[in-house]
Point group: C2
Chain length 203, copies 2
DNA sequence: TATGAAACATACCATCCGGTATGTAAATCA
DNA sequence: TGATTTACATACCGGATGGTATGTTTCATA
């Protein structure tokens, strides 16, 4: 059971994240944030000791959710197949499902938003972003290496850069999607990535 | 011959662009900008009637340069080959060359930087970004359609989403590159894209 | 060499910014 | 029930912000 305090804290985080993806971190003042929440400064600084504290908490939450989503997806895929290639294709399919239903463009990636304002943040906050990308790369690379051992690729490719390609896909698709206001760009790029993997490892 | 005024104007634009890619648009105050340039407010507001004016001028210049680069690359490729597939592969190769020599990560794409602060800008500025993506997509799609007519693809793909993939590649690679401070991510992703195109259209 | 415009510099302003100090109602619990 | 903590609200502060008004210097040109 979440108390009222935790509920308000979550409301602040959710609203802040949505606003930051549209205005940027520096573009979201504490005043504007609390006004759109119907709160006061007292409330905000009760839950977060500074704006930097909010920024750090926010990106940590976002990063944790991202890692969790990937691990859950992989776990589901591993239950459905023992073959690493099939597992990877299933994971891609699960991400497709996530973005298939959207009528509006995905609001964007908070990591990318931070990356383009990197100097606004302290080292601890910047490190959270780094760790997220390193961790995702590591786990994805491990899966792709299993695939490459079993299926010799039809072109000279490198496992970790193929993993980077998967992460990069979302970052790129989100930017185009946000600007062009087209909801289906991410799904289309996921399908291209899936096709690429199939063409690479198909005998 | 550029007078001293035009030179200062260019210096402001160049410095502003570099700073915005690190701090975000809202994170670069006019004060900080002129301080790092060794100028005064009088100088800045002589060259730009407002900060918004700087933002608009900056993104227009960046967009124009991007379109120009693509058209130049395509023109060079067309001189080297009559085949649309070879032309596309050559264009990708030319972009590879551009990013091959870098020792530091590419500072990022100003369009993406703006996209993640979209609400900071007026409609005219937002439109410049839109037009850039639409135009690039259109010209790239046209080339890919020529390829598809001549070479039936080995998988069911769509020309415009494949074009989106090329633009998306840079946006994604820049984000990873900036965060991980690895200079070669963009080149690696360009090589993957080239491999994908080859696998798609190879008989 | 006089003149006007371009290219800056200086001083100032209203507003907004993150942050603090203090107060208070409500929930928790010994 | 009394004491303490949690969860807010109010009022205020010093500094930064974008922008303006008013200079001064440089420089081409007539």
């Amino acid at each position: 059971m979440a108390g009222k305090g935790e509920d308000t804290r979550k409301r602040i985080l959710d609203t802040a994240q949505a606003m930051i993806l549209d205005h940027g971190y520096a573009g979201v003042s504490v005043d504007k944030l609390i006004k759109s929440l119907g709160l006061t400064k007292g409330a905000f600084f009760h839950h977060f000791k500074s704006k930097r504290d909010l920024a750090r908490t926010l990106i940590q939450r976002y990063s944790d959710e991202g890692v969790q989503l990937f691990r859950d997806s992989l776990a589901r895929a591993q239950k459905l197949s023992d073959d690493p290639l099939q597992q990877f294709l299933l994971v891609i399919g699960l991400y497709e499902e996530l973005f298939e239903g959207l009528t509006e463009p995905f609001p964007g990636c908070l990591l990318a938003s931070y990356v383009y304002e990197m100097q606004q943040f302290d080292e601890e906050t910047r490190d959270i972003i780094n760790v997220e990308f390193y961790l995702s790369r590591k786990e994805l690379t491990s899966l792709i290496e299993q695939i490459m051992e079993k299926y010799p690729p039809n072109a000279e490719v490198n496992a970790s850069s193929l993993a980077d390609g998967f992460m990069s896909l979302f970052e790129g698709a989100f930017v185009l999607s946000k600007s062009l206001k087209e909801a289906d760009i991410t799904v289309q790029q996921l399908r291209h990535y899936k096709t690429y993997v199939e063409l690479l490892f198909r005998q």
